[in-house]
Symmetry: C2
């Protein structure tokens, strides 16, 4: 099931004061390039450097004391893992994070820096799930899925709630799509509160499961896509697909070159550090300007966690 | 002569609506590192990517139509040059920019992109001044000095005016010092409006003319300092030295390593692109924490113009 708008309002209340109410910035020179009035919701400034903190914090906070006692567990090496570790530390409970043995050291260190307890496993989905299951049985920790969970989706949806409060007159909301937690959350918020707002997803052309799934009308998956947008390699679940299929206006796909050039534009023109996955919606607006021209477009900059020693234009 | 507080208020009015009122951001993890409550005035978000736009715009706008008719001229390859070009374009007058032949191509391109008319010269101070004089005589353009000009200082001082409005309870203001336009402007604002606020300068140890000048009680110059803080290579003028000597609490010097590590911290923790010169005050607060511990410190992030192909940690 998807969360209701009441669940989303409850999530907003649950995370208020701990998650940042991130600012919305604008940029005249990017408006000129796009021919549209762009508004950027800066979740790169969120705690943990990504909107994922919202879903993780909502999930951790809604546990009863009894449920929370043995901590939480997930498998991920990305922003969900660091943000879950941070949210768990906030509540004073352990976070067990299963990470594939070949995950970059910088990501392993970030998880550990936020107090996450790392368990390395073989780099296959089966091994990751098996290890997470084992930890769950051994410790009693609660499994928190990165996106296929109504509580997590409700947390991510608070981005949309805030954005519509901060910029009430948006015509379009556009966000990256990977597992679909954020995009389905935005769909639910817009449908309930601002049904005139078109919600778009954006994804790398080489990780275009959402685009293909919508076109074919059935859930299709990515297989190991090597996009530099390393946060966008997952595939939709039945739960997120159902919502997106019903409420999203469409999915725009972009090339790796579009992503790198949008990222460089954001760093040079806006002076903001946004990660490759986070600039994919801007890349989409610049790659398909006819869809957005003359409109008030709300773009989610989803995160800013970048390895500064390996920038994609080097 | 230095500008009066009335001149500074007039400058604020003159540039309002065109120069951005830049936001002030905070960062919990940098507060913990510094042991102080840090407030960052983000002039990296200013038009032209630097606070220099304020002084340039004030200078261009206060010209009479008759004076402005033949444009403006300066010699610089840094932020003053790009910002003066932008301010002149705003008024629809030419900006002649004398640039040393060996200035990085990326900077020459930035000046040209803002409509500046480039004249290349030999890379000596004498050649630069001679070429600027020649253009002034030939065209009737008005020379706008990067810092040794009360109108420019009044423009830069508006950073301090805004900052004190945005964060009224600051204990300390700290800014980079090169020619001293910004620092002397902040001194004048604090002295007139908030005399309890300590004003500090920060500069690279290998370009420490302000530190040495204050210590010796006489104006001393840098000679070709090779600091990576490329905006901080100039030396104080008699005008700026007089103000700084009278009102600044002191100057903190930092090593090149301090600068690089502060820059990386800002990019990683705050997700902001700030140039090496712009992080020097934060580097100073981290290098001399005993001076600032437990206090409310206002730091100016002066600019964000960085060559993304040559980052200092590479």
């Amino acid at each position: 099931m998807a969360p209701t708008i009441a669940d989303i309002h409850a999530a907003a209340e649950r995370i208020a004061g701990t998650a940042h109410r991130t600012p919305v910035l604008t940029c005249g020179s990017l408006d000129s390039l796009a021919g549209a009035a762009l508004h950027f919701k800066c979740e790169n400034f969120q705690k943990g450097g990504a909107y994922k903190f919202r879903g993780a914090l909502n999930a951790v906070r809604q546990l009863t004391d009894k449920q929370a006692r043995h901590g939480v567990v997930t498998h991920s090496s990305g922003n969900h893992a660091t943000c879950l570790a941070l949210a768990a530390r906030q509540r004073g409970i352990p976070a067990h994070i299963v990470v594939p043995r070949n995950a970059p050291l910088i990501k392993q260190r970030a998880i550990a820096a936020y107090g996450g307890q790392l368990t390395l496993c073989e780099p296959t989905l089966a091994a990751r799930q098996a290890e997470a299951d084992r930890i769950q049985s051994a410790t009693g920790a609660v499994f928190i899925h990165p996106y296929d969970d109504p509580v997590v989706i409700a947390g991510q949806a608070t981005v949309g709630l805030e954005f519509l409060e901060q910029v009430p007159l948006l015509d379009v909301l556009i966000a990256p799509v990977s597992g679909g937690g954020l995009l389905s959350g935005l769909c639910l918020v817009a449908h309930a509160l601002a049904p005139h707002v078109e919600v778009w997803g954006a994804e790398p052309a080489i990780a275009d499961d959402a685009f293909r799934s919508l076109r074919e009308g059935k859930l299709l998956a990515n297989t190991n896509p090597a996009t530099i947008a390393d946060g966008l390699r997952a595939s939709l679940s039945e739960r997120t697909f159902t919502v997106i299929r019903q409420h999203a206006r469409g999915i725009v796909t972009v090339t790796e070159e579009h992503i790198i050039s949008a990222m460089r534009l954001v760093w040079e023109r806006m002076k903001l550090v946004v990660e490759p996955s986070g600039v994919v919606p801007l890349a989409a607006v610049l790659a398909a300007p006819e869809k957005f021209r003359g409109r008030r477009v709300g773009i989610i900059f989803t995160g800013g966690n970048v390895d500064l020693d390996r920038l994609p234009w080097q």
